[in-house]
Amino acid sequence: MIVLTILAGVAGLLAAAWAFRAIGRAAAGGRPRFRDMSFGEAFGWVFAAAALAFGVWLYLQEGAVFFRWAVQGFVIFSVAAWVFRTLGRHVGTEATRKLFRQMPLTAAFGILVILIYAVVAIFAGVIAPYGQEQVLANANVVAGGNPALGGDPAFPLGTDQIGRDILSRLIYGAQNTVGIAFATTCLAFALGGTFGFLAATLGGWLDQVLSRFVDVLMAIPSLIFALLLMTIASVWANQLGVPLTVFMVVIIAVIDSTRVYRLARAVAGNIVVMDYIEAAKLRGEGLGYLIFKEILPNATAPLLAEFGLRFCFVFLTIASLSFLGVGIQPPAADWGTMVRDLAQFINYAQFAPQAAITPLLAAGAIALLTVAVNFVVDWMLFRSSGLKE
């Protein structure tokens, strides 16, 4: 039955597309817009119109609370990004203004979100109404702040099972989760970048040994390898009294540095074959001059883009580990752990939509930052590839 409905819908759309193109041709005469339009393009237009109509219909439905929130959120962010970009086009130096003029809306959105996260993470202690480990009187207060529905205006997002303010923990989560991920990425870059550059510049046996070693490490899926090493680290952490989080930072940095190594080696490898490097070598320059003065300045753009991508990857790995219960350890507030702890609230979505929103907020906070970074990186890569041509 469902299959039949879908088939009928598709057939209807196909017919509508054919009619749309035929009418367009008749109305527009010989103009190329419709004359050279392929059937696929016509179908695309009709399909988009149908999807838009469905979206509007759904938005007007009584029960579609979450859909409405999603649409509203999307609109708010789009407008904010647009305002931010417009602001950037008129404020600042000529260089930044030019940058903002060429920027697509997605990249402006990304930069705006990253800025907000940075501010929240740095000033978490000032912004958050309560402490991250502070246990308050009421446990399991529902989000929304409406006493009639079991909320409390003092805790706009409610409290968790042991009575900690969820809003404060979300804000501190920015500091913990993002901060740790950032530190891990920096460490991974220091390791992978150094060895990658050395391997590319010196070549020979050092390159061979390092590259084969990295090949082996990369043959194990990274999350799996991280879980294996975390198991072993958890035993050591207990014995040495060092927090498991420290082990986690080192383990993920080492695993991730293999990817950085590959890229740094490839980027440096492309630069090393340039004639200006040969000229510097033949001049008799030392290794330090070659790496820092000749190679590094030309490698910053791809490495910066890779830093963004690596950060996303590290951030998601840490969130996944925490979600699985072996990452950042309680009582520190962390988004991955929060999702796991609050997950069962989702099941109340039908009766109390505002209660179900809290686990999604924590997970969404993770997604939003990675989306933002990815948008910016995507733009950077597009720009650097465009400049080459």
Partner: protein, 329 residues
Amino acid sequence: MGSVGKIILQRLALGLLTLLVVSIVIFTAVNMLPGDFAEAILGQGATPEAVAAIRRDLGLDQNPVMRYFDWLGGVLRGDLGTSFAQLNFQANMGATSLQTVASQIAPRFSNTMFLAGVTAAIAVPVSLALGILAALYRNSAFDKGANIFTLSSISSPEFFLAYVLILFLAVLNPILPSLSNIYEGMGFAERLERTLLPALTLTLVVTAHMMRMTRAAIIQLLASPYIEMARLKGISPMRVIVRHALPNALAPIVNVIALNLAYLITGVVVVEVVFVYPGIGQLFVDAVKIRDIPMVQACCLIFATAYILLNLTADILSIVSNPRLRHPK
């Protein structure tokens, strides 16, 4: 044909070597445990018998090289050892029958393969079709929309997508079950229904990756001079795609599929935990939490093997589908 055969044999040998080295890495990692970890793992309530059994099982008194070959020999015979959880259980409860790691993994392995299979069956055709469309209509509204959608999807953690799907498809509109309660002897339709939600979650992530890679591969292909030549010969657009682009697209597309199936391996772990899907990923996470070393070791080896084999397949298929190598000078 001779040279292709030789290259493939080389790749196979290299794959085997990688597997061997990876097994050494995994074994060495486990051997970095502190000497008295048995007590640490079993905690305060450990019986001396259990501790002794673990020590015996891991052969801590032997030299590491011997131990490695013993373990490897066992793995090759299908003997992955006995899980600590089971040992502890036996020691405390006096149970007589012991489940080996292999017998615990076997049914879950097939469950995971089922999940991966369902995901691939949905994701591969959808993402190839979307990727090719995005490449053909590049820089159109469709392409830009798809770019935003796939970037968002790649950026989201698996559990976020999973909970969003649960919210919409299980809680608000109870179409599919939110927990994947799978057991042996279940009918295929019912099994499929309960697998669908985790499979959809994985599909979202994998499709995004696969679609972007397909798009990039096709765009690169369409920019090649021989496609322009075909157009300048007055060949119809359909024929340009089918006859000139597709034979050359085979290698990159096959590569994309294999790489993404390899990517599924990591995704499966988190998704299985969210949906309480009784697969090998969940078993692995549980073992990690209770530090069940033989189980962790075995699961890790299985995941790594699958990953290496898929990458190897990608490698070999792209060699086989390269006309320059198939028809040597």
